[in-house]
Every structure is written in C-alpha cells, then in structure tokens.
Symmetry: D2
Subunit: 380 residues, 4 copies
C-alpha cells in the first residue's frame, strides 16, 4: 500500500511534540514525511528539515510557501500535521484546508470556539479530514474502557472523576527562558486557558470519549499559584454531565510527584473502571460485589477496538508513542477512504476530530467563565 | 500502672464499631471495660454484655441507669465510649459529662453544630475530656505527614485533594433490612448528611489534621443516586482553605471497587505527599525535582510522633485497629494526666477532641447549605 | 466465657516478640495473662512483670519456680507462651508439658529435630496442646489461598516459589551490641541455621500450609556475606515437593529495601496465586487465560476460613498483629475443647503444632546438610 | 544523515518478532528496510515483502538469492536482521557475514556455543558487526541500573535474583498447531533449551549486563510439566557469579498470571535495586537504611546512558518497542562508525554482541548439563 504523503508545520529544533508526531507517523509505516515548514525562522526551518531527512527542496521557509508549492506538485502532500504553539493552529489549519489538504492538528484545535467552528465548517465543505490529537484516546485500554461502558458493563453511569496532574511548572520556569514553559503561560500564545487548556482538555476529552457523555454545566475554581503567572496552573472543576452523571476534573501543573498523571475513574450502578496513563496497559474493572479484575492489553477476550490497536503480546508494554500512533494509523485509514473525494464519515472512526476540538474549546471557555463568575454553574 | 475503667453505650449484638472500640481499648492494655449499656433493648443489652465478659451486675438496661450506679461505685467507670447511632450521641454524652465522666464519642459528635458547642462547653466547665474518634488521624504515617507538613518539608501549601470512596451502598441495601445501611440513610438517625457525614467528615478531618488548615468556604454538589434514598450517597466539594490553599473532597458510597478508599494528596511549592488508608504503612513523599520516596512505618528517621505510635518493626503491617488503638492510647495518657482534676490541655495531645467534632459538624452543614443554594460558596 | 489463664516465659524488657504475643492474646479477649518469668535475670524479671501489669506474687524469678507455684494454684495458668531465644525453647517447653500445662512456643520449636520429636511425644502422651507460632499462616488471605488450592482452583500444582527477604542484618549489627541481632547470629542460641532458621522456616511453613505438600528433597547454597558472621545470612534453596511439584526458597537478611518481604507464588495447570505479607489483605488469583482477580479480605464469597478469622470490613486493613491473634484465637478454641482432658485433634484446627515445628527443624537440617555437601540433593 | 540500508530474513506472514524488528528500526528513522527474504516458502516470501512495502525486485525467494543480488547492487543492504527460528540463525548469519554484510541476529545467536564462536570469529576477521537482540538491555532504566551498579551505589554486590515468567505454554498449545509454540518446543528448531533458552537467556543476559558479572558455576533443575513436551517449560537455577556473588534464575512458561514478567533484584552491602519489565519506566532503589526511591525514566539526575536512550518526558511511558529500538539505534551508530571499514569497538557501545550471544549459549548448555547430572554444579 502506498504511504500517505505527510507535511509538517512546526516541530523544529527544540520542539517536543513535533518529534512525537513524527515517531507516531512512522511506527506503522503508513506515512512518508515529505515536506516541512518547521520553524518560524527561515534558516532554522531549513536546518531543522534537513536534520530530519527532508529533501532540501521540500524544506520550506514558511507554511504559506509550502502550501503554494506542494499543492502544485503531483506528489504533493495529502495531509499536514500542525504542531505549532496554540495561537497559530487556526490560521495555519485554515490555509491548508482551503488548499484542499487534510489537517492533523495538535490540541487545542484553536484558541476559541468560534475559530474551531469555522475550521469544522471549512473541512466539512471541502470534504477534508480535520483531526485533533487528543492522543490519550488512542491507548488500547482506553478503547476497551469505552467499549465496556457503551456495552453496559458498568450499568447506568453515576460518577466520572478525572484528574491530570503534572509538576513541571511548580516553579516559575517561564522566567528562566524555558521554551516549553514560555508559551504555555502566555495568553497570547495559549489562549485563555493555562493548565486547564494544556492538560485539562485532555482529561475532559478522555471522559467524553469513554462515556460518550458531554458536560451540560460546570463550576470551576482556577488558581495561578506561581507568583506573576498570567494563566491558571491549577484547576478544580465540578461537572454535571448528561444523564444526571456527576463528575470532577482536577488539573494541575504544580503538583510535585506527578509526572504525567492522567487518571480516570468511572462508576455506574453495576461496576467501576479505573485507568491511569502512567500504567496504560492495565484497566481495572470491578463488577459490583465481585472481585476486582485487572484487564491487560494484549490478553484474550478484550474488545476488537482494543485488540486492533495493539501491536505486541501481553506483558510487553506499549506506551505513549504507540497510543499516539494509533491515532495516526486510524487517520491513515480515513485518508485512504477519502482518496476518491468521499466525505469522511467520522462515526466510522474513533480518532478525535474537529468536533472534539470544539468541545475542548467550549470546555475551556466555560471553565474560565465560571471561574470569573465566582464559580457559578455555566452551561457548555 | 492501673488500667482505666471504661464503660460503653451502644455496641451490642450486630453492631460493628463497638467491637472496634473494644479491640482498640484492649490492644495496649490501658483500659478495662467494666460496664455497658450496649443496646436500647434491655434484654439484648444484658445478653450482649455477658457475651463480651462483663459482670452481670454491670450490664445495664439503660445508659441512665448505668450512670446512676457507676457514679456511686468507688470503682465506677472513669470514661465512657459512646458508639450508638449518631442521633443519640448528644444526649448520651451530655448525661455522662454532667455526671463527671469523661467521654469518647464516635464521630460525628452530634447531628448539628449547636449540640456540639454545648457538649464542648460542658466538658470545658467540668474539666473533662471529650474525645471524638476520627480514627484515621491515629495512623503513624498520618502523624508523619502532619509532622512533615508542619516542619515545612512541602514548603508553602497550595493544593489539598482528599477522597473517601466506598461501594457498599451502591444498591438500596436499606430496603432489605441491612442494619448498618438503615440508620445511615435515615435523616432522623444520621442528621442532614448522608455519605458526607458518614465518611466525608473523616476526609475533611484528615485534611485539617495533617495541614492544620481549616476550610474558609466551600461549594458542594450532592447526589442521591439510589432511587428513594433520602440522604446523599455521593458528594463533590470544592474547598478554599486558609492561606489561599485550594482543595477538593470527593466522598462516595456508590463507587464499585472501592472498599474503604480514603486518600489524601497534599502539594506545596517544595514537595508533595500522598497517603492511602488501604496501604497505611506507606507515605509517598516527593521533594520537588527529586526522586519520589516511599516512607515506611517502623523505619528509622521518621518523626517521634510516628515512632511513638508504632508497635512493631518495618514490614510487619499495622492496620486499622492499631490506628484506632493509638487514639485510645493517647486518650489514656490524657485521662491519667487529668486524674487529679486538672483540665486537659488538648494541645499536648493529638487525639481529636470536641473541637474537631464541631468542625466536622460545620463542614457538613456548609456542604448541605451550599448544595441547597445551587453550589454557592458558603463560609464555615 | 471464662478467659484462658496464660503465663509467659521470656518477653521482658527489650524483647520484641513477647509483646507481640501479649497483644495477640489480648485482641480477642480470650486470654488473661496471669503469670510470667520474663527475664533470666531475677530482678529484671520482676520489674518487667510489674510493668505489664502482673500481680507481684505472680512475677517469678525463674520459670521453674513459676511452674512449681502455678501448678498448685487453683487458678494456676492453663497455658504458657514461650518467647525466649531459640536454644531455651526445648527445656522450658519440656518442663511445662511435664507439669501438665499447654505450650505455645515461638518458632523454631527447638534447635534440632530430635528435641522436637521428644516434645511432640511428650505432649501427645499428656494430651496437651503444643502449638508453634508460624504466625503467617494466621492471615485470612493465607487461609483463603489454602482453601483455594485444596479445592482445586489451581488444578494440579506445578511450581511453588517462596521468598522471605529482610535487610536489617546488612551490616554487622551483632558487633555493636544489638540484642535482637546478637542471639540470631550465635549458633549457641539459634542452632545451626541463621537466616534459614529465623525466616526461611517461615517461608517453608507457609508453602506447606497452603499447599499441604512437603518437601521430599532439597538442594541448598548458603552464604554468610557479613564478614565474621558465623551463621548464614542468605540462603538459596531448590526444592522438590511431593507430587512432582518444584519450588525455590530464597531467604535473606542482607537485601536492602526489604523490610519483611515474605512472598509466595503458586502455580498449577489451571491458575496461579500470589500473596505478599506486606500487603496481607490482598490475594492475587489468575485463573488460566482469564483476567487476574484481586481478592480482598472482608469481601463476600471468600472461604469460611478466611471470613472467620477476619474482624473488620473490606478496605479496613488488618495486619501482622491480627494475623498473629488468629493463631491465639484458634488455640483458645482448642484449649476450651481440651478442658475436660480430651486430646486435641489437631486436624480440626489450622494453627501450627509441634509437627509443623518438627518439619521446620527437618527443613533447616536438610538445608545445612545439602550446603555442606556442595549442594547435593538431600532428603527430608 | 543517510539512512542505513537494512535487509531482513524471516519475519513474514504470521511471524511476531520480525514486525518488532521493523518497528524498532523505523522508530528513530535511522534505517530503510530495502530487501527481504521473509519466508522459506517462495510465494509467501514475495507476498509478505510486498505487503510491508518492499519493492518487488527486492522481495527475494531465498536468503541465498538475496545475498547474491544485494551484494552486487551499489545500493545493496549494509546490514541484515535475522529473525528466523533459532536453528537457522547460524547458517544464515554465516552467509551474510561471509558476504561482507553486518548482522543483527535475534537471540539465541545459534543453537550451540561452537556455532556462536564460529560466527564471532568470522565477524571479527571481516570487521563486521554481529549484534544479538537481547533487547531488554535497551530499556533506559536498565541502563540506569547498570550505571548505578558500576559506579558503586550498591557497594559490593552480594545477591542477584532474576526471574522471567510467562504463562502462554501452560497448556499444550503445540498440539493444536500454534505456530509460535510449535518451534519453541521442538529441539530440532530451538536447540537443547526450551524455556531456559527462549526466556531464561534473556534473564541471564540482563543480570550480566547490569552487573558485568558472569556466572562461574550453576546448578539447575528443569521440568517439562506439560505432558509430552520435549523441552523444559520451567527452570530453577542457582548461580555462583564472579566475586562470590550468589544468585538464582527462575524461568517458566507455565505460570498463570505472568504475561512477560521479567524481574531482577540486585543487592549489595550499600543498597538494592529492583526492576520489572512490565513497569519498565521505574527503577526502585534503596540505599541501605534510607527511604526507598522510585527513579523514573525521563527525570533529571539520571545517568547519560538512561537519558540518551529516552525519547519523551517523564510520565509519558515508553515500552518494549522503544527499548528494542534503542538497540537498533545504537547499532546504527556503530554501523556509521564502521562505514569506512574500521573494526567496531564493542566496548564503545552497549548493544549486545556475538559475545553476549555466546554467553547465552554457554549458560543454556551448562543448565542442561547440570540438570542431566542431578543438579551438580557445572562451570561455564
């Protein structure tokens, strides 16, 4: 099968998530990275491209130039991965979609919901794929959890508690020139949400992905514990989901001892599920009044979704890159389907799309609004 | 050393917590259980007393009779343990205090804060001990946590997240004659709080015990998931503690897979601590940017508080009964001090007193009020 | 019910295991400690006895005197707990059995198998109970494991791997006057086994208790890693159990990071079990090709043996003292049965008896013999 | 940088480890897979090659043909990955080395040590790389462990206990046509070792890699628990390493509940280390008499080796494929160094070479010999 021709915007020297996208695209050999505009600085952009093995003529000094050239090459890119800081997502994605090129956008899709809606409509009209890398939904055991909830193994849902805690912003790194910290705490580059946008949206997406329930209203309390920090670095949120399900999200980047501690607990009247990103190959399931079971990736009797997105046998741990690669793999399937100009039926796929991106934006906006209104309940 | 003469009200046949109090009192051989009014029914009360080895003449048919007789015996009881359903705590405690007998009361101290205040004043005037068994504060590693927070090992505190989850009320047990379930979901016997009173107060007390911070305001969302249940069985609470510390409490009795899952996470600008009741011998400590440490009960270099309330070497697990017994042990020390009629200086001891009981009442009242006001912030 | 009158030999000031026996005897209120000869030094013996609340006249200066007096009191002790260093077990036990008093002996029962056999015969003839506190068999989840193995849930057994690792003898503590270390590394006081006798026998007993299989032959490699230490501080043993079951025991007191890490893994053709003493409330069970289950003390559907020796609900951890107390509780039942002079039918009880003590001796002797013969296979 | 041209022998339809090698080679984009002889059957070989994207002309019907063609192409392969069943490793590797092509061979390198020696000499003479994929040594935290042991953080070593347990051969899968099971239990295809060769050698290599100590003598007890199985499916081995270090290896493929449970514990007079393959991002370190530390991949203050072979931040789990890819990455570095005909200095690299392969063979041969001699100590 012919590899999908992929371009990338962002992800040059010193970046983190760009290399993750590249590894994810390579793992299953479904893509060939052909072109890139990796940095805003022209020289660094070229240098970064050469370093990762792009041919010189397809290392572009700007994404606009990249579009212009690539859309006229017979072997031009079919899809672009956008891995820039948040505030650029919208205008870059818009240009690529307008040029007829599928878009894989890192989260958050944009920095507000109006922009997200605009991109969704644009992709819809152009029959193009607009994917957003809420990558944690790519883990096989998350897909197993989704399948179990949907098939009723927990009964009627009651409680969804999710947290996402890190500790790397415990001190004011942004004051000492730390590149990753810098833009994340800058409202111009990140939007109105700090940690709630950076990681809180992952937590929220995970909860909606597994349960297929969306928040109706929420009530939030944000903090910026580090002196002088302009965006939140800790968020407490109470949520009322659809169907009278109650929940909480705690997101923090100032919680020492937490590397990347994303955890979800889901309870219904027939059972409970717990999944933790740092032990992603396990899913803990307790049918009410029966022994707790440890379900493990790669074992028999898991759902098709879990098995299809698993590569190696039980006990051989898969991790973050593999989960991320599952999103890429499924997008590849969708691109193949759409090669004849067919519109992508998102419902046939589980990868997060622009609609999930929009939900994330609405979540962040509601959280900030609630916080500004002394934690009143705010509808999404 | 002469054993302290102990009486008990409640804790007869079919009860759970009474036997825990008795084991706790026996473990360190500081008490002798001499008298009891164990059931409201006179016959069962006698039968229950004989069964646990009380002499016949000190098995009483009512607590009033017990007071009358015991206060006139030269070897009458010095202290009474009150382990009845919640609604009786107040009137029983009041009578014993009025008769000059120290009181150890199971939590919650009363069913509202006015009653709690009355008992506190009564004990104060009579120079008697009024202890409340928030027993989780008796675990050695909880005391270690307290010591570490107080000595600044976490730096300036920022976040306190606590949860207490159980699953035994997932189904409407109260409809099938389950004694423990019955009174817990009955407002007449439990007061205005269901799970928030039964276990949420334990979580709240734990957070205040370790950090020595009290909630200033809170905002709560209560649920009664089981149809027909008159009190809450799930509570989400956002808290603003003193000193700008933020927190959350989640309490639930409908979370399958949770036996008695009390857990606290505390974060400051220099480090984090995690403790879980189901693995009580461990305390997880992460100094910021250093490796996480597993502190274990019985090891060297723990604080005096932790070591003094530890009985056996590292790796030999102590559990719930031992933690409970630590409360009893310390109350024994306090009773000895007060034998000459001295007033107990609570600050010299760590066991929870009437003031902690009152805090618990205020917490429950604030949670219920906030919930009734659409989750407005309510001051304590 | 009348409490059983208990005496104690050993366990005075500075001792460890004596206080454990006392707490274990108190927990369920089945015993009353009435008499003691707690130290070899007469003065310290009296002082120690008074300190723990014995009446002055029953604090004896020697165990011989204690026997003489107690056997002539109408309320003399019915049973004695022997908690001296190992080398004294035999002669003390022999005297008490000869005087018609039941014996609870700390392990190892003696320092060689001939002595063990002599005690067994003596007890047999006198229709007295001779119990040995291999206390780990008292944990409810160990009893659950036994029940599951016996009822065939693992199928035909194949492999039993057990280890017991500690770290407290990593350095030559015995050279700095550490009382517990001193006698344990002294062949005169401990017998021919160092760590293999002190903790290896616990591991071996645990394996035989759960599986009801005894070792047929074994092959061992002992080490004394600490310079100048006269007894082994590390033991590797390969075992061939009955029924063609293979196994290993590793015992070590020089393994930093191990507090009291006793762990057993049992595998059959239908499933596997894992139990760890440091998390004693859990038993991990995997039926072949099905999800691993976490069985928890206090939950429904456990065996009667597990439930009968459990005191508090699921999630409220019980520990070492509770497990030890289960041995005492069951011995109390046996003593009650034997009060009319009936011979104790050990098969009706699970507490370890002299026969288990003898097995332990044979195990240690075989290990040392194999080690001395360049790890040849040695029969037990 | 130009990608290294890679060929593959074995790894066609239905194979497992071939795809792992391919993913490992792709992850860091250092290789381009150009040619393959993937199956012994000519048609399936072509079909398999096309399926994974090889050009038709470089899908070969036999490895001999592949060598002949590739060595004459200007863009012929530089290195071949051999992923056939064990018994073919030797003759395939010999041919490629003879043709001047580097070899990456799956373990075990051959089926006896004479063959291993021959390959090593051949590679040596030809100045070619001969690598063996003992992939577990590629995990960053294994490299951290090696660094810590070598720098003396454990002090003088005393005990090395390693186990590798699986459960997938609990039942006679080989009788029902299971391809992976079939050849593993067939002495013609696997050599004299069953589970001891398949996984026991991984455990042994891991122990030597981290400690840089080799076994001097060992003493083994093998079992074939499944009726009719011709090779061992369970092995207990006692080992005396160099420097008076004692150890054990337990390997089993009939231990229900064990997916791929490779675990090593190393103890010295100053500390202990524990690492488990199923939680590969953690390394547990206890300096004697200090709190246990949890070292985590991606955190600061780890060794260069650990950090250089880590791709993503702390808390974002890396797994088996990433560890395997580290071996490939380092081999790529070595190939680049050797491109000018220089001999590879293995000491500059950590990837396992033919010498490690030979050690594995000697280990298996000694285990089988000891077992055949009633578990006598056998020198390696």
């Amino acid at each position: 099968m012919q590899r999908i021709r992929l371009g990338m915007v962002g992800g040059g020297e010193g970046a983190f998530i760009g290399e993750v996208h590249r590894m994810a695209s390579r793992l299953d050999d479904r893509y060939q990275l052909c072109a890139g505009a990796l940095c805003s600085d022209a020289n660094r952009s070229i240098r970064s491209g050469l370093k990762i093995g792009l041919s010189e003529q397809r290392c572009y000094t700007s994404y606009e130039k990249m579009i212009k050239v690539e859309q006229n090459r017979p072997d031009g890119i079919e899809v672009v991965a956008i891995v820039t800081p948040n505030h650029l997502h919208f205008k870059v994605a818009k240009k690529f979609l307008s040029a007829g090129i599928h878009v894989i956008c890192d989260k958050p899709i944009t920095i507000n919901s109006d922009e997200a809606r605009e991109l969704i409509e644009l992709a819809e009209r152009a029959r193009l794929i607009l994917a957003v890398t809420y990558n944690y939904s790519g883990y096989p055991m998350v897909r197993q959890a989704k399948e179990m909830v949907q098939s009723g193994e927990l009964g009627e849902l009651r409680v969804i508690n999710t947290h996402y805690a890190q500790d790397w912003l415990t001190e004011p790194l942004e004051n000492s020139g730390h590149k990753q910290a810098n833009w994340r705490v800058d409202p111009e580059k990140s939007g109105i949400g700090g940690c709630i946008g950076d990681i809180g949206t992952h937590a929220y997406h995970l909860s909606t992905f597994i349960t297929q329930l969306r928040a109706r209203t929420l009530c939030a309390d944000l903090s910026s514990f580090v002196k002088g920090r302009r965006l939140d670095d800790n968020a407490h949120v109470m949520i009322r989901y659809e169907n009278n399900v109650k929940g909480m999200i705690w997101a923090s980047q100032v919680a020492p001892g937490n590397g990347n501690n994303l955890k979800i607990q889901i309870y219904g009247d027939k059972g409970g599920l717990v999944w933790q990103q740092e032990q992603p190959n396990e899913l803990i399931f307790t049918p009410y009044n029966k022994p707790t079971q440890v379900l493990i990736r790669g074992s028999d009797n898991l759902s098709d979704d879990a098995n299809n997105y698993s590569r190696i046998p039980i006990g051989h741990p898969e991790g973050y890159i593999e989960g991320f690669a599952n999103i890429y793999k499924e997008i590849a399937d969708a691109i193949v389907v759409s090669r004849d100009g067919q519109k992508t039926i998102y419902d046939n796929f589980l990868f997060p799309s622009g609609l999930d991106g929009l939900d994330g934006m609405k979540f962040v906006e509601a959280v900030v609004e609630s916080n500004n209104q002394d934690s009143d309940w705010v509808s999404l």
